[in-house]
Symmetry: C2
Subunit: 196 residues, 2 copies
């Protein structure tokens, strides 16, 4: 068991291929319980979670997500740097993790709550670290057309689908993408100013 948040954060990487072997539901619930402890605007706790393990639901989700991803990837609106970034990582319109991972966690946010999106993503930060603690890999996948995916899950219009998070054991051996240095991310007292 890791004892340092930094070490969990450093160890955690995004994973796009999963082993289909079973994972303990208790471990997934542990991570959701952790997320529920996050702060939120006016403590409205705008988040709701749908834990998907039914293979038919996963297949429907994947189909709809890939339809929209395909349009997006083949469309002209894609910035060149982003197309290159995806190509280098072999990220295409296909999203096999949506059926491979034993669990897909859909995270929805109550649109009427103040700072609903901000609070929900903060809670997702808690969630990822708790999953890592349990040795579970994840990806914060954001569907191209969240509403289309939300409809598959029966999520009402008053909630926005923020992410689909596949959870399981990693089946790729890619490393973690490099992170920037502290000195490049931090200023002191004023934008652009270094510490004296």
């Amino acid at each position: 068991m890791e004892c340092s948040v930094y070490r969990l954060a450093e160890r955690r990487r995004s994973v796009r291929r999963f082993h289909s072997g079973q994972v303990s539901l208790e471990d997934v619930l542990y991570a959701v319980r952790t997320a529920l402890q996050a702060p939120s605007g006016a403590n409205r706790q705008p988040w709701r979670f749908v834990i998907i393990y039914d293979q038919r639901v996963k297949a429907r989700l994947r189909m709809v997500c890939e339809q929209w991803e395909r349009r997006f990837h083949e469309g002209r609106g894609l910035p060149e740097w982003f197309r290159r970034w995806m190509e280098e990582r072999e990220i295409g319109w296909e999203k096999p993790f949506l059926t491979e991972a034993p669990y897909i966690l859909a995270v929805a946010a109550d649109k009427k709550a103040p700072y609903s999106r901000e609070s929900t993503w903060l809670a997702i930060g808690y969630l990822l670290l708790a999953l890592e603690e349990k040795g579970l890999a994840s990806l914060t996948y954001t569907p191209t057309n969240p509403r289309a995916a939300a409809r598959i899950l029966g999520i009402p219009d008053s909630y926005s689908l923020e992410a689909l998070i596949p959870i399981g054991r990693p089946a790729d051996n890619k490393g973690k993408e490099p992170r920037m240095r502290l000195e490049d991310a931090v200023f002191y007292n004023m934008w652009g100013a270094k510490n004296d």
Copy 2:
């Protein structure tokens, strides 16, 4: 040292009054280092941090934030439930934590990066847990007029100021706001469905 992300998350509460006594800058940097390990859209790492300890900068920030808070609190646009929620907690337009806390961490997000806001708030989730690990209290304060506060710090227009996070030792004895039960936040396979 806590060994469980859940226990850190559970222990962590929002704090609005701080002791002005010194806090180790290294501990603040530890939390920022942790945040830098978070995933982000296309790994663009859109976040930048301004660590404010200069008392004059804090005073200017507080003045501008309170000006806008006062308008907001005295305005008619405030929903009644929100006004009551704030009154019950004695949250007014005054923001003493902006000058009391030894550090104010301003978090800005590159507006041009994909999923910039989502990524930045996920990283704030990492940050809060790392602060808690170091025994440091915090609040994710979102200014009413982020642009006015950003100008004080010289943050360029291409970045949005997402939060001002006071960091220090708590000087209130308020408990943590209650959280919802797992059963009320989680569905299985379909919105509204419980596990069988």
